[in-house]
């Protein structure tokens, strides 16, 4: 088997399998958690949190070394990153609540400044007397090389925790995402639910640092939910679809990355997710681009079809090429533009329906029913057979068109 298939079927060695499974779980948790961030229109908040992890990672390293430790303990580094990311989020809240700056400015400011502080601390570490190559740069873009079993367990455990949190609180979070004011009126503490939502996102961000890196981890929270949104209108299903897209992206990305050298894990995971997004954008039913194009084409045909028949009924010549093609294809007119028997019958029907609508507007003064006239809705869908019979009685017997 090729290295790629080996990796995909977990045959590329114990470590690669571990990483792939861990990344899959992480992706699933990210997609599910990110669903609510997206619906609450807070997707980029997690980008600020991700960048704000850097000073925490560096500080944790410095503290652990100062205490005489190794400095590279993953759990310790993640704890540090969670603390500064939390501080970053609180700072954003504080800026938005206290000053007139808008949320996007607050997000950008925290993102840039915390990242800057992190870079300063990284250079401090480089000059530290311990002289040990800390390898903290791996946290920028993620690196799964040399990942230990306990690291994978931390990632899997954290992902499961975020997922469980999201699942348990999906109802209040849905409510808050769609109508925060109603949620308040219904007795939910919106600020507390927002906080929990951010905590779940924070958990995904922090545990994703090692695999995906802090620059790109936000993609795991944004891309799968955005892709999932194309496939469904229901939040319950969106969580699962986003989770599935994220999980597959994580798993496939990590496996591909393990199959050959120079294939960084984080970017690959993001690119697999991006491919899922593009496919969803193009091909999802109802909300996808292809579906929209087909819908628009059908609508156009219906309009032209009707206008053509009305022209026949009024015995006017049709010159519009698309209409001509359409009517010819349906055998309603001949190649020379003269209506066929079917065409005249269809035209008579359309013309009669127009007159029925005229009568209907006169009889039904309220616009509830007659307001549904858009030229395309068949009159049979709006009025009962009895009512149409009444319209016909007033119009009189059918008249042949253009005999």
């Amino acid at each position: 088997m090729t290295p790629l298939l080996d990796a995909l079927f977990l045959q590329a060695g114990y470590n690669a399998a571990l990483v792939a499974i861990g990344a899959g779980l992480l992706g699933f948790a990210g997609g599910a958690t990110g669903t609510f961030l997206l619906l609450r229109k807070r997707a980029l908040l997690s980008d600020a949190a991700a960048h704000a992890t850097l000073p925490g990672v560096a500080l944790a390293f410095i503290v652990m070394v100062a205490l005489g430790g190794d400095g590279r303990n993953l759990a310790g580094l993640l704890l540090g990153s969670a603390i500064t990311a939390g501080i970053g989020l609180v700072t954003i809240q504080w800026i938005v609540a206290r000053t007139r700056l808008t949320e996007d400015a607050a997000i950008g400011a925290v993102l840039g400044v915390f990242f800057g502080i992190g870079i300063v601390l990284l250079t401090v570490i480089q000059t530290m007397s311990s002289g040990r190559q800390a390898g903290l740069e791996d946290f920028l873009l993620g690196s799964t090389a040399g990942m230990l079993r306990q690291d994978a367990l931390v990632i899997a455990g954290g992902g499961a925790l975020a997922l469980a949190l999201t699942w348990a609180l999906r109802r209040p979070m849905t409510l808050v995402a769609f109508d925060a004011e109603y949620a308040t009126a219904a007795g939910f503490k919106v600020s507390r639910i927002d906080l929990i939502m951010m905590l779940a996102a924070l958990a995904v961000t922090v545990i994703g640092l090692k695999v995906v890196g802090l620059v790109l981890i936000v993609a795991l929270l944004i891309i799968p939910p955005v892709a999932a949104r194309f496939w469904t209108e229901s939040v319950g299903r969106m969580i699962w679809i986003a989770g599935a897209i994220g999980g597959v992206s994580g798993y496939v990305g990590a496996a591909v990355s393990a199959s050959a050298p120079n294939l960084p894990t984080g970017p690959l995971i993001v690119l697999v997710a991006a491919a899922a997004f593009v496919a969803s954008l193009l091909f999802a039913p109802v909300r996808g681009v292809a579906a929209a194009l087909i819908r628009q084409r059908r609508f156009k045909s219906r309009v032209h079809h009707r206008q053509g028949l009305l022209a026949i009924a009024r015995q006017e010549p049709i010159r519009e090429p698309f209409t001509l093609r359409l009517l010819q294809r349906e055998n309603l007119i001949r190649a020379d533009g003269v209506p066929t028997e079917d065409g005249r019958a269809a035209a008579a029907k359309v013309s009669r329906d127009e007159r029925r609508w005229d009568i209907a507007r006169r009889i039904h003064q309220d616009a509830g029913l007659t307001g549904r006239y858009d030229g395309l809705t068949p009159i049979e869908d709006v009025f009962t057979a009895d009512e149409i019979g009444e319209f016909d009685r007033r119009i009189g017997p059918p008249v042949a068109v253009g005999g």
Partner: protein
Amino acid sequence: MGADFVQFSLTPILIGIFASVACALPGNFLILRRQALIGDAISHVVLPGIVVAFLLTGVVAAMPMLLGAAAAAVVAVVLIELVKRVGQVEPGAAMGVVFTMLFAAGVLLLEQSDTSSVHLDVEHALMGNLESLIWLRAEGWRSLFDPVALAALPPELGRMAVGCAVMIALTLVFWRWLKIATFDEGFAEALGIPAAALGFGLVIASALAAVAAFEAVGSIIVIAMFICPPAAARLMTSSLERQVLWSVLFATLSAVAGYVLAGYGPLWLGASGSVSAAGMIATVSGVILGLACVFGPHRRRVGAGQSGQAG
């Protein structure tokens, strides 16, 4: 302030100032238009642009890279609009999708191509290398009048100065249009100002500023400078003219203080070596913003939005 200063600190400080001001100027309008995160998105997509330019030309030269980065920024802006409109995705998420996608593609390309022989890596792109832009030929202040020494100035200085001058000129030329269109797009259109084109132009100009600055100082400064000085300035005054002047002052202050602190701060604390100047400049701009948040005379929201709801 002797020969050492001219040799090792003058040019990086000047480049830092030019880069900061060039980013802070368009930042003023981006903040008011709630597009502050465009700077973040652009600074991410600069990387794929530079990598593609390198792969196409095979050399690490300033011009192709600037063009590549500018092209990538334009592509990103167009893609974001496309995702927003075609996919009906909310703006923040559309931005997140596009810039992570392009950045990931850039990193992958970089790792896959053989760039070991050239100075091109992700860390450099993020952190810049302000400290290395020194003026080795300088022997003191009199070198400012010595054509031989002046010829050895780092080329980034000239480019950044031009970039900064272009941004200042654009701001002045389009001042009235920008001011009207930023606060009332409908009114601007009624006056015959092409507001949509102006908005797009602003984003493109920001992208060019980001790209020019990025080459010299890395993307951290770019992100921070687009937002922090203008945001702090907005808390100082309610007049757009004064806000822009404040932002230029804050940007300059951040660049100077940040560079000095990065170079000499560790010595003052009794440590040796120095820390990242780019990171320090971003940090100082953050401190300024923090102070403005606490003490700025116009920090509070006035009128309807006082309850703390922000968009």
